[in-house]
């Protein structure tokens, strides 16, 4: 019998008891991928050889009686924005087609050490710029709840792989919501840890001061298990926090919010959001009250400017981060006919190698940093960032965690917003403030919107390096919802109509 619908925690237990081997488990997931991924397109690259080698090694260690971690031998899908030695890393861009990095990212090093089996690399918006995974140079990923819809972005491949039972665990990265919004629209769980909580070494930078890798799974506990596996100080990342990792697994298991103050952020709690999103969000608040939490309303007035500031800061940093893709040392090269100079070849390569959204953001960022405009655009945006941080600081004096719906709508149709950048940017309105302040954020499923039957995400935000608080609330809410429904939300996903 296939184990692909089990959680990572359950799989870890089964592996520990010897009820299944990692090789068997890995093969089952590759079989599932072979069955459904032509329809979902969650993966860009599969590494069967490497995955089975790792599975074999974990099985051998277990057979030898070695004590292994809780997710050793469990398969995982890795977002294609993190380097893995010898494995293609494209960032969803034509620019890096065929590039195989000569080094492991910090996250991959930790995963390997934890005995996790990396199945392959998942699809994403090019260089993590987007909210729908439609910006991938390798074609869009489809939402397993409805293949005509987007799986969110930029980490749509990772979330879709979870919802399609192609992997029980996945890694995402979140610059403005790229873990949480895909989790919301695919009915899965995704966490953006505190900035600096997980190494950025080997994470191909989109916006360095906002990027953060994090765990994705189908349950809060699984996310916590993966979180503890990948978090911790990395001396190769100057912005990595050198202090103990919050005890998120214990927090996820605690199932108790008595006496906690939960702050609903007025500015992002539903005004202008889809009706069904608001309904499910408010029901969840009620469940938290029943579990003993106190709901308070808090105001973060400067959040109204977060989106604008984000679309200046992120493109500015991106314009600089993506300058290295110039065809000189790696990646594709276009137009080198022996007559053209280096500069012309760079220009042509970047014309062909980058997609429209990436070019749009590079040009926008170049503008925001250019002399004469710096103060008005980049400079002002960094001041807004200060104001957003202050809003959070004030709000956290009134509440232990803050909450909001994760995304304003459920999954929309593929192609529906691709010609309207501004409409697309609005997807991240509730997730962006978290990145601006560097705090932790989680999205977990809180039901299906009545009007379209699609998943709705509930966002929990916790103060810097207090990631355990959002796990505590998330674990409690998840348990309350499951007991109210009598099942998990993901178990209700319709069977995939494989093409």
């Amino acid at each position: 019998m296939s184990s692909i619908r089990l959680s990572a925690a359950e799989l870890g237990a089964a592996l520990a008891k010897g009820e299944i081997t990692s090789v068997e488990l890995t093969n089952q997931h590759f079989d599932r991928i072979a069955e459904v991924d032509t329809s979902v397109h969650a993966f860009l690259h599969l590494d069967k050889e490497g995955a089975l080698a790792q599975a074999n090694s974990v099985d051998a260690k277990r057979a030898a009686g070695e004590k292994l971690g809780p997710i050793a031998g469990v398969p995982l899908a890795l977002k294609d924005v993190l380097t893995q030695k010898g494995i293609p890393t494209t960032c969803g861009s034509k620019m890096l087609e065929g590039w195989r990095p000569p080094y492991d990212s910090g996250v991959v090093t930790k995963l390997k050490d934890a005995g996790v089996v990396i199945l392959g690399k998942t699809n994403m918006d090019e260089f993590a710029m987007g909210s729908s995974t439609e910006n991938s140079a390798y074609g869009p990923t489809h939402n397993p709840w409805d293949l005509t819809r987007i799986p969110g972005g930029s980490g749509g491949g990772s979330s879709a792989s979870l919802a399609a039972f192609e992997a029980p665990l996945a890694i995402g990265t979140d610059t403005g919501g790229s873990i949480r919004q895909p989790a919301a629209v695919t009915g899965t769980v995704g966490v953006k840890p505190t900035y600096g909580g997980v190494s950025r070494y080997g994470l191909v930078a989109f916006s360095s001061s906002l990027d953060q890798a994090g765990p994705c799974a189908r349950t809060v506990l699984d996310t916590a298990l993966l979180h503890e596996a990948i978090a911790g100080h990395d001396p190769r990342d100057s912005t990595s926090i050198n202090s103990p990792v919050p005890q998120v697994v214990a927090a996820a298991k605690r199932l108790d919010v008595k006496g906690m103050k939960i702050g609903v952020v007025k500015e992002i709690s539903g005004e202008g959001f889809q009706a069904g999103v608001r309904t499910r969000f408010e029901e969840s608040l009620q469940l938290l009250v029943e579990a003993g939490a106190e709901i308070v309303e808090v105001s973060c007035p400067n959040f109204d400017y977060a989106l604008a500031a984000y679309y200046l800061i992120a493109p500015s940093e991106a314009s600089s981060n993506l300058a290295r893709f110039d065809s000189m040392r790696y990646g594709i090269r276009v137009g080198d006919d022996g007559n053209r100079g280096a500069e012309e070849v760079m220009n042509l390569t970047r014309q062909v190698g980058f997609g429209r959204e990436v070019k749009r953001r590079i040009i926008l960022g170049t503008y925001a940093l250019s002399s004469g405009y710096y103060d008005a655009y980049y400079g002002s945006a960094q001041k807004v960032r200060t104001l957003i941080k202050r809003d959070f600081e004030a709000a956290f004096t009134k509440a232990d965690v803050l909450v909001s719906p994760t995304a304003p709508t459920t999954a929309f149709k593929i192609g529906e917003k691709s010609d309207d950048p501004l409409a697309m940017y609005l997807n991240d309105i509730a997730t962006i403030p978290v990145n601006m302040a560097g705090i932790g954020g989680m999205s977990l499923p809180c039901g299906l919107a009545p009007e379209d039957g699609l998943p709705v995400g509930f966002q929990i935000m916790s103060p810097v390096m207090q990631d355990d608080l959002m796990y505590r609330v998330g674990g409690t809410l998840e348990a309350a919802l499951n007991s109210k429904w009598g099942h998990t939300l993901i178990s209700q996903i319709p069977d995939l109509q494989v093409r």
Binding site: W99, P102, S105, V204, S238, A323, R324, D326, S371
Partner: protein, 515 residues
């Protein structure tokens, strides 16, 4: 002073050179600005752990960080920060309690990330000065060069241009890149504008770079080898009509890679600008490249349309906030200032000005000091290093200090002082040591180089000399003491230099009844 323009150069065909340097300096006032880039001698690079050693085979001292591979991140080298603070302190700068790295964005294939991690509006050291002394028509004069900033950045890779004309960039068919140098820590030291040097501008610039080099060397933070590029100087200069109180348009001359070139480049550039102004043309704000062979500069990239570097704070690095305690700790490590030390040593050793200058120019101060510290008598130590050892080094085309250790030389000098070696014998000992025949004692033993101090052996030689030149002996007997030189010379020759000349003289005169 003649013109620095070679009128035979076809590039100047038809050009009328109206003013030479001296004439130019009667009509125009130069203003200097100097930017010096120093490669620090840390073991590892600025932002990664690759080795910095010079001369490794291409692309073997690179890693994801210094190759700018996607995903790689920088981490600051603590030693580089310490070295920079030391430099700042030695240049009388304030050390900023808060400083940051920034990205300087521009595309160039030798720069892996297409931005240079540098410092911009928040450098680590600001507002210092350095005093230099030069010889003027009125004697020695002091100039204070004010330092605007000292900041940290990283070096670029090296490109090799293949095909086309003689390795120059233009006309190359393709270029080859080696990133071993990429990411080596660089410190940039920028002066404020330096007015008021008048016709001494080239000498002041040279004295500044020299003094700076000596300070950096005394701090031990850099190899300061201009010819290897570990110290590079960009010289800015502008001219304004005498007494106008204005600033002219400046040019920036790069590729100046020796102390002498700093001076030559400025002579040439001042003359060039003066002649442009004189003929009613404008000086273009541009980068110029110094041509070692002609002493002229050629134009590089025009800066009329300023580059837009889009500086912004480097998000991958956190601010540097040295606390007062750290700075004071570093201050205690500051060595004696080179200028103070030179004065002290000159007094201690009692050296005439001219010889002191020779020692400094030959870069022998350190080794002479070391030799004296090992017990050698100061005058002999100086004379040996500056004389015999330098002569041999010159012959072999190596550095004097690579020939013999100060300990060995100190030992030889001690033997001379005690009369166990004559100068002539000592030269043979030095030769033996350089040839690898062992320590001075080994050479003396193997070659049998001992002063003949046995009186009876010397008397045999003296009597032989008297017998060979009876007339000379007679004159000495008659009171003509200076005539003794000829007999002493004969004795020295007979003993193969192994006799102590003073002893020979004493015995000879006594023997001839003159003592």
């Amino acid at each position: 002073m003649g013109s620095h323009f070679d009128l035979a150069d076809p590039r100047f065909a038809g050009a009328l050179v109206a003013l030479n340097f001296a004439q130019a300096m009667e009509k125009y006032e130069p203003t200097l600005g100097l930017e010096v880039h120093v490669e620090l001698n840390t073991n590892s690079k600025m932002f990664c752990s690759c080795a910095t050693e010079f001369g490794g085979s291409p692309n073997t001292q690179t890693c994801p960080v210094c190759l700018g591979l996607p995903g790689a991140l920088p981490v600051v080298n603590a030693k580089a920060i310490e070295s920079t603070i030391l430099i700042g302190l030695a240049l009388n700068c304030s050390i900023a309690p808060y400083s940051r790295f920034a990205r300087k964005n521009y595309f160039y294939p030798d720069m892996p990330k297409n931005f240079q991690t540098s410092q911009y509006d928040e450098p680590i050291c600001v507002n210092g000065y350095l005093d230099v002394e030069i010889d003027t028509d009125e004697g020695p004069a002091k100039f204070r060069i004010e330092i605007e900033r000292v900041h940290m950045e990283e070096d670029t890779g090296k490109s090799l241009h293949v095909g086309g004309s003689t390795g120059r960039i233009h006309g190359a068919e393709y270029s080859l890149l080696d990133y071993n140098r990429a990411g080596i820590p660089l410190v940039e030291i920028v002066t404020k504008i330096v007015p008021g040097t008048g016709k001494y501008a080239p000498q002041v610039a040279r004295a500044y770079v020299t003094e700076l080099r000596d300070i950096l060397r005394s701090l031990g933070v850099s190899d300061v080898k201009m010819e290897q590029g570990s110290l590079r100087c960009d010289a800015n200069v502008s001219l304004a009509p005498m007494g106008s109180g204005k600033l002219g348009t400046r040019s920036e001359t790069k590729n100046v890679n020796s102390l002498r070139s700093v001076e030559r480049a400025l002579f040439g550039e001042i003359e060039r600008q003066a002649n442009r102004l004189e003929s009613g043309e404008r000086v273009v704000q541009e980068t110029r490249h110094f041509l070692e062979d002609t002493g002229l500069t050629r134009p590089g990239r025009s800066k009329e349309q300023a580059e837009d570097y889009r500086y912004f704070p480097e998000p991958d690095l956190v601010p540097v906030t040295p606390d007062a305690k750290w700075i004071e700790e570093l201050r205690t490590k500051l060595p004696e200032k080179p200028s103070t030390r030179r004065k002290r040593l000159q007094t201690e050793w009692n050296v005439p000005d001219k010889e002191m200058t020779a020692l400094i120019n030959a870069e022998l101060l350190d080794v002479v000091e070391e030799t004296i510290a090992l017990g050698a008598e100061p005058t002999r130590a100086r004379t040996w290093w500056l004389g015999e050892i330098s002569r041999l080094a010159n012959e072999k085309e190596v550095e004097p200090t690579s020939l013999i250790s100060s300990a060995n030389l100190a030992e030889i000098i001690a033997l001379i002082a005690s009369g166990e070696l004559t100068d002539k014998l000592a030269r043979q000992v030095v030769e033996g040591v350089i040839n690898g025949e062992g320590s001075p004692a080994d050479v003396i033993a193997k070659r049998g180089l001992k002063v003949v101090s046995d009186d009876s052996a010397l008397m045999v030689a003296i009597e032989a000399a008297i017998a060979a030149q009876p007339d000379t002996a007679e004159r000495i007997r008659g009171g003509n003491i200076p005539a003794a030189g000829a007999l002493i010379g004969a004795v020295m020759k007979a003993t193969g230099g192994a006799a102590d000349a003073a002893k020979v003289r004493e015995l000879l005169l006594k023997h001839l009844g003159q003592a």
